[in-house]
């Protein structure tokens, strides 16, 4: 039996197809202006990879910011439930998940079944979300994907005095003008974002093994900076951290399908 999960985020859309305990296909793409369009395209691409059609999918669950606009989803689940579920399923020792998305950040505590016990969420202030790095990359004229590698060469990461994205943008421009090295600036940005996210995580108290999910987790500079900010080693996912939400949705779909059948 095949099941699917579809995660329509603010910046990217992700889909996953599972058979039994295996992820058989996944796809990530930039979000289109219409969430329903993003969902349709990302699902078609994923199905194509394994030569399946929508009729072969016993159940599909939607998640993410655009989850209510996914026409083919039988049910919807919150991103929080999906990230928690999938992270614990993939790495059973995990009890806390930190997910930094394009427009939000979440800290989620789960029990040994992947059920959410506590969470904290920020989508009010752009500082402390993926948008912080996006805006700064734009201001420096660098590719956001390159930030992790650039920060690896940092010698003396800068300390930013501003938290607000708008004020920090001005601050880094003056740091560039003052002749600070790019790796040091990027390293400083990773530290700044990590501190914001770490205090969000601390607000629900750190518990057990912690992992990081979402697109920002692919940035190795952020991964290490968050480890430093939290003072713990993070569990590294073997699965692409950006598809964790979609995996969680597929796991929910599996449960639903099993319940129905």
């Amino acid at each position: 039996m095949y099941v699917a999960g579809c995660d329509v985020g603010s910046l990217s859309a992700k889909a996953v197809i599972m058979k039994d305990d295996n992820i058989v296909a996944s796809h990530i793409m930039f979000a289109r202006p219409e969430p329903s369009e993003s969902a349709r395209v990302v699902m078609e691409e994923t199905l194509r990879k394994v030569g399946l059609s929508m009729e072969d999918i016993a159940c599909c669950v939607g998640t993410g910011y655009g989850r209510n606009a996914i026409p083919f989803a039988q049910a919807c689940e919150s991103e929080i439930a999906c990230h928690g579920k999938a992270a614990q399923w993939l790495k059973p020792q995990v009890r806390m998940v930190i997910d930094i998305g394009g427009q939000d950040a979440k800290a989620i505590r789960v029990d040994e079944t992947g059920t959410v016990v506590r969470y904290a969420y920020n989508d009010r202030c752009a500082s402390g979300t993926g948008r912080f790095l996006e805006v700064m990359a734009g201001a420096m004229g660098i590719d956001i994907e390159a930030m992790g590698d650039i920060s690896a060469q940092a010698r003396e990461p800068v300390t930013l005095s501003n938290q607000c994205v708008v004020f920090a943008e001005t601050e880094i421009i003056s740091l560039i003008n003052a002749g600070r090295e790019l790796p040091d600036i990027v390293g400083g940005l990773h530290r700044a974002l990590s501190h914001r996210v770490a205090s969000l995580a601390r607000s629900i108290e750190l518990e057990g093994e912690i992992t990081m999910t979402g697109g920002v987790a692919k940035n190795r500079g952020m991964f290490t900076a968050l480890e430093e900010a939290l003072g713990v080693k993070l569990v590294r996912m073997d699965t692409d951290p950006q598809i964790i939400g979609a995996v969680g949705a597929a796991l929910m779909a599996r449960q639903t399908a099993a319940g129905n059948g």
């Binding site: 427009q103 009010r124 202030c125 752009a126 948008r131 805006v135 501003n162 938290q163 607000c164 994205v165 708008v166 004020f167």
Partner: protein
């Protein structure tokens, strides 16, 4: 004896020259990267408008973000004290001052003598500061001054759901793409600004008369939205509200010279 005040802000630099209670001259320039240069430039302009030279000034007090770097200044005073001093000097009935600067916002409460009772500052978040309006004006392709002028023509002001400047920017872009008239956008932007500032103002306790100072006080859209938000009239001052800090600094200089 002639006294002067110089206010070096993040966006603009202001100077005021006083002879006793009489305003002899004033000037306003855009701040450059060099506060010292901005201060000299604005002072020369103010002196020229009063047909004076630096030798005629008995004492000049400095204030604002760049106040420690003004060469011709002998004494410095905080912006909060200067805004309070300036507003009380112009209008002794003022009890609450809302000062919105280029990158901060302050609410100040005074007693009948003009002494500061309580104040609160926001310089952490761009929303609720002049920077918010600057970002939005740029997005709409308007001059900062136009934002207040065109908002009066709004028929259906938009409501912004986000407080954060970054998220509000995305909302405004969405409305722009939908073809929403700029006047409706500008009115919604001014209202969002006022809503944010009103929270800060309420936290010091609103007591009448209330006035607004700083550059944003020149935006009638924000002033009217503030009146609606707080349910009290904003007392209009007899002098450009953007000069209030510099005026207060000049009044401090005058007091220091022993003129009361």
């Amino acid at each position: 004896m002639i006294a002067a005040g110089c206010d070096v802000g993040s966006l603009t630099t202001k100077a005021v020259i006083l002879n006793n209670a009489r305003l002899l001259g004033h000037a306003l320039v855009r701040s450059s990267f060099n506060p010292e240069k901005s201060a000299s430039e604005v002072m020369e302009k103010a002196l020229a408008s009063a047909r004076l030279t630096m030798d005629d000034i008995s004492l000049c007090v400095g204030t604002g973000y760049g106040r420690e770097r003004i060469g011709f200044v002998k004494k410095t005073v905080s912006e909060i004290s200067c805004h309070a001093k300036g507003a009380h000097f112009l209008q002794p009935s003022i009890r609450t001052i809302i000062d919105i600067g280029g990158q901060d916002c302050k609410a100040i409460r005074l007693d009948a003598k003009g002494e500061i009772v309580k104040f609160i500052t926001n310089d952490k978040c761009a929303s609720g500061t002049g920077r918010f309006l600057e970002v939005m004006a740029k997005l709409l392709g308007l001059e900062l001054g136009e934002l207040g002028r065109i908002s009066g023509q709004a028929t259906h002001p938009i409501t912004l759901a986000s407080t954060c400047t970054v998220w509000a920017q995305a909302e405004v872009i969405m409305h722009l793409n939908e073809g929403m008239p700029k006047a409706d956008l500008a009115a919604g932007i001014n209202e969002a600004m006022a809503a944010r500032v009103a929270i800060l103002a309420r936290s010091v306790g609103i007591e009448q008369d209330v006035c607004m100072t700083g550059g944003v006080a020149k935006n009638p859209g924000v002033v009217e939205a503030m009146e609606k938000q707080l349910g009290v009239p904003m007392r209009r001052l007899r002098l450009d509200p953007q000069l209030m800090g510099a005026l207060g600094a000049a009044v401090f200089a005058r007091e220091r010279l022993g003129v009361s």
